[in-house]
Symmetry: C2
Subunit: 355 residues, 2 copies
């Protein structure tokens, strides 16, 4: 089968339509002829299915590969992923961010594509806002969105991205039980609740803080800010706003963490530090003794840009400890929920998948 | 037992020497009297072993804790760690970076302390050079060095730090086997070796690169730089120095990665990307089919400053996949090996431990 290279398209005659399009769903048909992308062309060339000519000169794989990688941005990444997807048995069509793929057993004309595949190099950066944009597009088209990250050795890691609505099952704290508000002392970057009854009450019912001994409870900054704003505790010389300002001074980024922490607590989750997992929070749908947390939640600013090795690390940890990795960010325009419901926070789950 | 608070020391009479020092190894004896640190004092006060007076006024735990945290830097961190260590059965003495502890069953006067404990908040930053300084001190004193990181909820994570000499068992590559040097094409951020025989040879014997199909081998930038400098491959228009300069442009930080990569290869390791683990390299002592890598190695500059949540993430991943976490850095003054032996690279292993 002879194809002709012109710019960034390969063209072949009507016999190619029958052999490559009808049987293999390669390329697209235009005016009775077949047009192939250079990625499809390289794949078919490597398998000996086509020959490629440029100005009547035949190109071998090496020549074609070098030309194509000059004409098509990230050609080599696309080729690596396309080849992988086809060899896994997915019919694969080109799209602006990479590919659309069809469910196994399905194909163009029979079934709709079910997944958008976003191809990216491990060296590239991925802004959160770009991710959200692609998630919205996928949502509108009723597709799943999968990130295919090509590492420096051309291995591919697939992550599925999802916007999720977080909803926990912990009962709403009942304010003013057990003699709140209780006096707490601020000691540098933590506070201590001294009264044994309220210390016990906060810790045992809602899993706030950590007992430093039988009598006293130590709270983190976000816990202190939260309990102070709900008037469960008091801190000398500081109302909630003053405390939050102080805390931002001690821990740059506190305000962002506090926003997400409060949002998760308000949504019925129990939220504890995720330090041992290298994330901001580990999050329980409901807390009972001996339960494990369900999510790791990392908080990011709305202009955050993901470095992919970092993303890989976070998702890998969550995966090995059987938790779901979620990124929380300030968001005034989450679809599906009104701002009152979201509290101005959006959540994206990123999970490693086998395709 | 009455103690008197003056500045940042508690003093008690000779009866205290007998009861607290001789039996519990608290404090130190000076002129027949006992001197306690404020951390030791808080611990003994919380257990009802002593009373504390300041200007003849008795202080309760809350009052003493607030005063002590103003007078002693990171008092609350020290208290949390000291309490934990004592309750685990370790006799614990004060030191400049935290504590010295004695083996279980041992105590001051009977056995030497075996561990230096370096106390630090998860919010603090730890420069590599400071870490090396403390490692050298510990080495000279023949102690182990353990980092006790106190997170925002006062949980403690213990890491052991070690300088290690990396030494692998992979046979030295035999240059000019199989028809090297072979021509390779540079395609953006990877290269392709087109000749099937050398592609096979490099991949199967030394685990360089990844086969993109039956015939061709794709190499990463560091692999390409290494093979180019050893004259196993050639790249058109680029000698090794020119290639390294190009690669640094494509991937800022390449030079550092390349230094450590080459050093590990020269030390007899097989080195592959650690992208799936969020580190630079996964490292095999020797490569056979189906072996797992032994180390994760992350490369850092010599002026690198560790953020502790990041460190936690790296060590956690290594731990869950049963590998050892090692940081490699440029080092002109590694003790134990001459510069010729080290190749100017030092390695620190950081491992999670249960105390």
């Amino acid at each position: 089968m002879e194809c002709e290279l012109r710019d960034d398209v390969l063209t072949a005659g009507s016999d190619a339509v029958e052999e490559l399009y009808d049987r293999g769903f390669y390329g697209r048909v235009k005016d009775g002829k077949l047009e192939l992308s250079l990625i499809e062309g390289a794949y078919l060339l490597s398998r000996g299915k086509i020959e490629i000519f440029s100005d009547k000169k035949a190109l071998n794989f090496k020549m074609f590969f070098e030309i194509a990688s000059e004409r098509v941005k990230d050609f080599e990444l696309g080729y690596i992923v396309f080849k992988d997807l086809r060899e896994r048995g997915y019919y694969t069509k080109m799209s602006s961010i990479g590919f659309r793929i069809y469910p196994r057993g399905g194909h163009p004309g029979k079934t709709p594509a079910h997944v958008f595949v976003y191809v990216i190099s491990e060296r590239a950066y991925l802004p959160l806002q770009r991710m959200i944009l692609e998630l919205n597009k996928a949502e509108n088209a009723r597709k799943r969105l999968i990130l295919a990250i090509v590492d420096e050795e051309s291995d591919i890691t697939f992550y599925e991205l999802k916007k999720i609505i977080m909803s926990g099952g912990q009962a709403e704290p009942e304010v003013r039980d057990a003699g709140t508000p209780a006096a707490a002392s601020l000691i540098n970057d933590r506070t201590i609740v001294w009264e044994p009854v309220i210390a016990d009450f906060l810790h045992q019912n809602y899993f706030f803080g950590k007992k430093i001994d039988e009598l006293r409870l130590q709270l983190s900054l976000v816990e202190s800010g939260y309990l102070l704003s709900r008037q469960w505790i008091t801190i000398e010389h500081k109302n909630a706003a003053e405390f939050n300002e102080y805390a931002e001074g001690v821990e740059p980024g506190y305000s962002l963490k506090y926003l997400i922490y409060s949002n998760l607590r308000d949504r019925g989750f129990v939220v504890k530090t995720g330090f041992k997992f290298g994330t901001h929070f580990r999050v329980y749908k409901q807390f009972k003794t001996d339960t494990h947390s369900d999510y790791l939640v990392h908080t990011i600013a709305s202009d955050y840009v993901f470095a992919l090795p970092e993303l890989s690390r976070a998702v890998r940890i969550a995966n090995t400890v059987h938790k779901r990795m979620v990124f929380g960010y300030p968001d005034d325009a989450t679809s599906g929920e009104t701002d009152d419901e979201t509290g101005g926070v959006g959540y994206v789950e990123i999970g490693w998948i086998r395709l």
